[in-house]
């Protein structure tokens, strides 16, 4: 039978003997996941500090002189790119994807462990090239995270000579790393599940990561194409994107290039990228809500279909990022329509999350707090998306702080809250120790209330017409209240930024002083909680692979002896099959 050959391949598993092969050049998916996670969080902290420096400038422009205008643009660019690509994408897919897929599917490892290891090291190389941008002549690019030409390679833009090339090379290397990891995730989900683990018995975390990976594999080539072509424009003088321009008194050497072509390519990647980050978050939050409300996920099958529908639709909405770039009005209508259609499966998911909580035995644990917090911020960010998806509303709001507030709520704050929830949820499995509960609650409340204090006022600023990407504003243009709000936002951002140190402290403190977690502290049903060892040892399952008899959501089944039945428990007395409604 095929599953024996693929999932239970003891003879093919490498057998790490030394410290180096166990923890550095490791092919074990769990170690690679932690390597991905630590690197992503480390580079994410750099982006966090950049955002705080920017906020100090905006909130107190005459008090702090930390950065010059050029530095501000470089900080904007690096903050955005790091957060979207090098933190969120890497953390959800490289981190959680690597850790959860084999464990939740009942496999011993990824199907191509060596390539999986290479994936991490190439990712690290991409991060190092990105960071090198800070130290090269002219510094990193300051073109904004969208890297629009002609600005990105024009004289006067910070980092227009070397910084942009450094960024584009780093992105190319990242895509290579992602492809190596992505091939692993897709193949492992399709071909290495243990016996009994049908596709429709997979936890929604795996579904989210699986579909997001497919999106990434198909969408990242668009970024690669644009990166290669822009690199050639910047280095050997091609004119793919660069038009003829009179810039700072000089005529450039390009002619005829199409900046709009870049925008199309960039957003053909850029919009699926939103869902590359969001779908794993959707999947993970579904599992957190179900586990901590002791209730099966409401509408499992609908949730799977919604993930697939969102994945497909995410490829036909990209031009809603370009309403103000100039396009045929019929195109605007088409993309506004598809944008509104994609709200349907998304709304289905939100309803199902809320209905999962309905009459559940809700345990307000720290992961659950973050999961519920996500529902709030995601609804909030989703609703403002409806404003921006409509051409006529988008045009006046475009390039204002309303847009900044919207995308930070929907794809910054919301996925990060899920990341936090997931860390609190799976840290006990990864380390064998519980994270400190009091510190966790403190972290949650400061973060959750703090992000509202940051982003709610930004909507107001946007409606006032305050443009984004400005180093400083004149009080002649905007009322004093704008400056006062900016100061308040900065104070909130500093508090929220500092609150993240609580999590970092908790991660380290609990590793040494935390309470022992035991194998299944949340009384979860999915397979990762059923490993013979915690943390799971190399090969995950001991001598025999698990066999799956049921879906991952058998909580509070009538007639069961406990309020959860693990997936690998066969039907019998005290463990009936549920016949409820999915």
């Amino acid at each position: 039978m095929a599953y024996v050959a693929m999932a239970d391949r003891d003879h093919e598993l490498h057998d790490p003997q030394t410290f180096i092969t166990k923890y550095i050049w490791s092919q074990d998916h769990k170690v690679i996941a932690i390597q991905y996670g630590v690197t992503a969080i480390a580079i994410g902290l750099v982006a966090l500090v950049l955002s705080l420096v920017m906020r100090l400038q905006l909130g107190f422009p005459h008090t702090f002189s930390l950065i010059a205008p050029a530095d501000y643009y470089q900080a904007i660019t690096m903050h955005g790119m790091i957060m979207v690509i090098y933190l969120l994408t890497a953390l959800f897919l490289g981190g959680f994807g690597n850790y959860l897929i084999p464990l939740m599917c009942g496999a011993r490892d990824m199907v191509f462990p060596y390539m999986n290891m290479l994936s991490y090291w190439v990712y690290l190389l991409a991060v190092l090239i990105l960071v090198a941008g800070f130290f090269i002549p002219g510094g990193p690019t300051g073109a904004g995270w969208t890297l629009y030409p002609p600005q990105a390679v024009s004289t006067g833009t910070p980092g227009a000579s070397w910084g942009i090339v450094c960024m584009l090379i780093s992105l190319g290397v990242f895509i290579v790393a992602f492809t190596m990891g992505g091939l692993n995730y897709v193949t492992t989900v399709l071909q290495a599940r243990c016996r009994g683990m049908t596709l429709m018995r997979m936890p929604l975390s795996v579904w989210g990561i699986f579909v997001a990976t497919i999106l990434g594999l198909l969408a990242f080539p668009a970024l690669l194409v644009s990166a290669v072509m822009m690199t050639l424009d910047a280095t050997i003088g091609t004119s793919f994107f660069m038009p003829a321009m009179l810039s700072m008194g000089h005529t450039n050497t390009h002619a005829g290039g199409s900046p709009l072509l870049f925008q199309h390519l960039f957003w053909f990647f850029g919009h699926p990228e939103v869902y590359i980050v969001a779908l794993p978050a959707f999947g993970i939050v579904s599992d957190l809500l179900s586990t901590h409300s002791r209730r099966h996920i409401f509408g499992y099958r609908m949730m799977v279909w919604a993930i697939l529908a969102i994945g497909c639709l995410s490829f036909v909405v990209w031009a809603h990022h370009m309403y103000v770039s100039g396009m045929n009005p019929y195109f605007g209508f088409f993309f506004a329509t598809t944008t509104l259609i994609i709200a349907v499966p998304t709304a289905i998911k939100v309803y199902n999350w809320v209905l999962t909580l309905w009459r559940g035995d809700i345990h307000l644990t720290v992961p659950m707090l973050f999961a519920i917090g996500f529902i709030f911020t995601f609804i909030h960010g989703g609703l403002t998306g409806l404003f921006l998806g409509n051409v006529t509303v988008d045009v006046p709001l475009s390039a204002t702080y309303f847009v900044v507030a919207h995308f930070h709520m929907v794809m910054g704050v919301s996925p990060i809250l899920v990341v936090f929830g997931a860390v609190y949820h799976w840290y006990p499995k990864m380390s064998g120790k519980m994270l400190n509960d009091t510190l966790g609650r403190l972290h949650f409340w400061i973060t959750f209330l703090g992000v509202y204090a940051i982003y709610l006022p930004m909507h107001y600023l946007g409606i006032m017409g305050v443009p984004r990407r400005y180093y400083a504003y004149s009080t002649a243009d905007f009322p004093q209240s704008v400056q006062e709000l900016n100061a308040a936002i900065t104070v909130s951002a500093l508090i929220v930024g500092a609150a993240q140190l609580i999590l970092l402290f908790n991660l380290v403190y609990s590793l040494f002083k935390g309470k022992p977690a035991g194998p299944n502290p949340w009384r979860g049903t999915s397979l990762e909680w059923q490993t013979p060892d915690t943390p799971p040892k190399h090969g995950n399952w001991g001598p025999k692979l698990p066999v799956v008899y049921r879906w991952a959501y058998d909580y509070s089944v009538p007639g069961a002896s406990e309020d959860f039945i693990p997936q690998n428990v066969p039907p019998g007395p005290g463990a009936p099959l549920s016949h409820g409604h999915g």
Binding site: A2, Q191, T198, L261, C312, W318
Partner: protein
């Protein structure tokens, strides 16, 4: 971006959808006979390596599809503003195409030998297939030279820039294929148990052959694009 690209993406999504639809109609919470419903292995009878290669080919398709979409859009702009200058495609490309097709056919021939476990002819055919592919790459460089000799070297003409870009990207993928080809030759010489060796080599040669055919197909599309525009 042309709407065609969007529809291609949508079509790909529908295909995946159709592939999965049977499994997705299951109602896992209602399973009456859990043991009888046990999943008996991978979703298909394909090996993981083959699934991995198919997935990689999808990535390559997306990459070249987007390059072609960019080519088309830039050409439309270039024709409108007059900077897209048509050029004569180097005649040597016809010969190069024949060499690549021959390389692909030789790989297919090698695959036949691998399936029968005939290692001696397999090695010869593999070497021939790889050599023809290496030859194709060198000939592509000659095509670059021929284009330069015709006075078309300037990359300021986007048509020429695309010629260099597309041939280079295609060539890089072939170089990647040649790396696996080298690995296969090494495996062929490795002293392992005959049964393991036959299975292993058969699989790798099969994957190489599929990759070769696919890249030949990609080249035919690119060549056709350059000839027709």
């Amino acid at each position: 971006m042309t709407l065609g690209t969007a529809y291609t993406a949508l079509g790909a999504g529908v295909l995946v959808w159709a592939f999965l639809v049977r499994s997705l109609r299951a109602r896992p919470w209602q399973t009456k006979d859990a043991v009888g419903a046990l999943h008996e292995g991978g979703e298909t009878s394909l090996t993981p390596q083959r699934i991995g290669l198919f997935t990689f080919l999808a990535v390559i398709s997306s990459l070249f599809g987007l390059f072609i979409a960019a080519y088309h859009m830039r050409m439309m702009d270039g024709i409108a503003n007059g900077d897209w200058v048509h050029y004569k495609v180097p005649g040597i490309l016809w010969f190069n195409t024949a060499v690549l097709m021959l390389g692909s056919a030789t790989m297919q021939w090698a695959k036949g030998a691998a399936e029968r476990g005939e290692f001696a002819p397999l090695r010869t055919r593999l070497i021939a297939g790889g050599a023809l592919t290496g030859g194709f790459l060198l000939l592509q460089l000659l095509a670059w030279r021929e284009l330069g000799a015709d006075g078309f070297l300037s990359v300021r003409n986007p048509a020429i820039a695309f010629f260099y870009l597309l041939t280079a990207v295609h060539g890089l993928h072939l170089v990647g294929g040649l790396a696996v080809w080298g690995y296969t030759l090494r495996r062929l010489a490795a002293p392992t148990a005959p049964a393991v060796r036959v299975k292993d080599v058969r699989q790798v040669v099969g994957l190489c052959t599929l990759y070769w055919h696919y890249l030949m197909l990609v080249w035919l599309v690119l060549f056709g694009l350059m000839l027709s525009t």
